[in-house]
Subunit: 231 residues, 2 copies
């Protein structure tokens, strides 16, 4: 067995997936510093979307009561770079990457961005090789501890408006008032600007977003920060 | 056959997909103004991710030579709200939505955001009901003319740095110089700030991004706009 085959077999075992098309795995492990023409950047583009759909579905099914906003925040908290880097370390990905000499010397094997990108590329490669079910099995296995963790703190992931309301109710204060200041209609999407203010206090904050509700949430988030600073 | 069943059967024919679980389709058509508890917002969250992965894969396979940046720009140009609204109109979605009285009176059936969100919710519902292949068949059928259109203008979707370079070369001007002004390292991700300037001219512009390359592209994009305004 060639050294390359051995190398790919080892990482396959760590990933928990054996590729039909080994060249896809090779590509996924190839940083552009090693070979720009066959680098993992295109696979990373695909894998990023695959990861998002897998985590979205898992959250959708795991939290039947969660709102769209809560699901969205949970997803962001799961697919951020730190989590990907942690999983990449757990899978010992750094040892299996193809990097250019310069990158290796400057510690590229442990660089967060390189590890996270490679993990996304691997997810894209598994999807192309074995379909969404294969990708789902791997991703859910890797994310299992992360998905279990959020079970514990879903309460803290309530949307900002609800958190602000609960905070004010607990303090027997009046509830905030939101008013739309302006709506900018661009060809891309409208932009709402909303001011939220807490009656009988000097506290007010502005939020923007592509819908009135999103802008209100942003304003509530800003108000929560103001309150935190005050205390 | 009940009126509701007839209603759902008609829209199923237009969509080109028959649901095993009709309640999923019903949910996807339900705006929160009609019934907040069973509205389509959670399905929209899922459908947005499903749409992204389907279009990503289609572009990945259709353009084997495209870079990650080009694929990314092509995807944004395809999944933006205008395209979704166009497809929703083509599918006559407005006629099949469940909206509250107030929304109907204020023209909600033709409101862009309601139509685009409902289409994403339908994509999420098809995915849950029939899996990714079913969702892929529908989405690719709806997006077929759009995917064919971009074939023609992929040239215009070159990345900003390349376009700027080509523009300057054509005018026999010196090539731009990019320099990193600052790097802010937050816990989320680094933020690069790059200044691009065109030698022997007064033109310079700043771009920011999560990597040096992305910041340079943003600076190039800004320079292209400046040049356009000059002419």
């Amino acid at each position: 067995m060639s050294q390359k085959t051995q190398h790919l077999e080892k990482i396959s075992r760590l990933l928990g997936y054996t590729f039909v098309e080994a060249s896809l795995l090779e590509s996924a492990l190839t940083h552009r510093s090693f070979q720009a023409s066959q680098s993992n950047e295109r696979l990373e583009f695909l894998g990023d979307a695959v990861l998002s759909v897998i985590i979205s579905k898992a959250l959708f099914q795991q939290y039947p009561q969660a709102t769209e906003g809560q699901l969205s925040r949970l997803r962001s908290s799961l697919v951020r770079r730190e989590t990907l880097v942690e999983i990449a370390h757990y899978l010992q990905l750094g040892d299996y990457l193809y990097l250019g000499e310069g990158e290796i010397k400057s510690g590229g094997k442990q660089r967060d961005s390189i590890l996270a990108d490679a993990l996304e590329a691997i997810i894209g490669a598994i999807y192309l090789d074995g379909g969404i079910i294969a990708a789902e099995c791997c991703v859910l296995a890797w994310f299992k501890p992360k998905l279990a963790e959020i079970e514990l703190n879903i309460e803290t992931l309530k949307d900002p408006k609800s958190r602000l309301q609960e905070h004010l109710q607990a303090k027997k204060q009046l509830l905030p008032v939101y008013s739309v200041e302006s709506i900018r209609d661009s060809t891309q999407m409208p932009l709402f600007k909303v001011t939220g203010s807490i009656p009988h206090t000097a506290l007010s904050a502005v939020g923007t977003g592509s819908s009135r509700r999103r802008a209100e949430q942003a304003a509530a988030e800003a108000l929560l920060k103001l309150i935190k600073h005050e205390n």
